[in-house]
């Protein structure tokens, strides 16, 4: 149970990597827009997801 509680503490980061990253990549793909800086869609998505998730974890809020 402690392990699960610890994992939940980092929930925003897991959400950033697990959900936001592929969502960004697939949204770019669906709209025909290419990722900046020569990154692939999923690389760009992972960068966005990790940054957003980390900020949300540190601030305790997505908004």
């Amino acid at each position: 149970m402690n392990l699960v509680a610890k994992a939940f503490e980092w929930g925003p980061l897991w959400f950033g990597v697990g959900f936001i990253a592929p969502l960004v990549a697939q949204s770019l793909d669906a709209s025909g827009v290419s990722a900046p800086l020569g990154l692939s869609g999923i690389q760009f998505g992972l960068a966005i997801g990790v940054v957003m998730g980390t900020v949300a974890k540190l601030r305790g809020s997505w908004i």
Binding site: F19, A21, A25, Q26, S27, S61
Partner: protein, 295 residues
């Protein structure tokens, strides 16, 4: 209170006793039946929500339509479980109890709200309505509906102290540990499903069929089931903590919550009967000094 002061405290007057007798007499007319419409609503709504997924994935339902339908289903998913929480479908020890528990558990899966947790915390809402420290729904308080929506969103943020988590920790319910385990399992399952869908190439579908509809549904439910009927969440007492009110969007769109007062007075009356019960009880309740905002 000392024995002397208790003896001095005035009891209910003869008129108050008569009003209570009439109120209870009316309420009894609406008790005891199985609300089959709520059973059909709960199980049918869940089946409809499940069917959206294959229909969308197979291209038989456009994603935008799936999004709208899913938002509707998730918004409608709470109330059948709420009936089950109050054992309105079937009491403990009766033949249909399994159906009560089935509706309770299944209907709020799309909302990712575990039944046992919902019931334990909802009991605290009934016992401590509008209490800033003890009512787990108090976080939805707001001077305006926009402020309530904003407060509700803030309460859902990862760093916020979840009122339901706090209420569960405070609870001495023997099922509290089980409720906690079920809550963890349901949440892990939800995030695992979103992740699996997203990494399988269905991130947009997962976002528009579950994540966003759930956020919208939670907001709508908090607004109409919590904020509106208890606004301004400052009064206490049987006839004052919940109001009768005229909804600008009508009874159906406000999920029957214009009559939520009846639910707090007589929690075992089925949702669909609260309007009729209110109309029959209205004069009695007005004399008791209820808050009536235009109904």
């Amino acid at each position: 209170m000392s024995r002397a002061s208790a003896a001095e405290a005035p009891g209910p007057s003869a008129r108050e006793r008569e009003l209570l007798r009439r109120e209870v007499e009316i309420s009894r007319k609406y008790l005891g039946r199985v609300p089959w419409e709520m059973v059909a609503w709960g199980l049918g709504n869940f089946a409809l929500w499940l069917s959206i997924w294959p229909l969308t994935f197979a291209g038989m339902l456009p994603l935008w339509a799936g999004f709208l339908l899913s938002t509707l289903c998730i918004t409608l998913s709470y109330l059948p479980s709420h009936e089950a929480q109050h054992s309105i479908i079937a009491s403990r020890g009766t033949k249909l109890r399994w159906l009560n528990e089935l509706v309770g558990h299944v209907s709020t899966i799309p909302l990712v709200l575990p039944y046992r947790l919902a019931w334990i915390t909802h009991r605290q809402h009934h016992a401590h309505t509008n209490d800033p420290d003890l009512d787990p729904d108090y976080g939805n308080k707001g001077d305006t509906w926009r402020q309530s929506v904003w407060n509700g969103l803030k309460a859902r943020q990862p760093g916020a102290d979840s009122a339901y988590k706090v209420a569960l920790q405070r609870s001495d319910d023997p099922d509290a540990d089980r409720a906690r385990a079920e809550a963890i399992a349901l949440n892990v399952g939800y995030y695992a499903a979103l992740t699996a869908l997203a990494w399988s190439g269905y991130a947009i579908e997962a976002a528009l069929l579950w994540w966003l509809p759930r956020q919208l549904g939670l907001t709508y439910i908090q607004l109409f089931l919590s904020w509106a009927p208890h606004h301004p969440m400052e009064e206490h007492g049987r006839y004052r903590d919940t109001r009768a009110w005229r909804s600008p969007v009508g009874t159906i769109a406000s999920l029957g919550m214009e009559y939520h007062l009846i639910h707090h007075l007589h929690p075992r009356i089925p949702l669909v009967d609260t309007g009729r019960a209110y109309r029959e009880m209205r004069d009695v309740l007005l004399e008791r000094g209820i808050r009536n905002d235009g109904l």
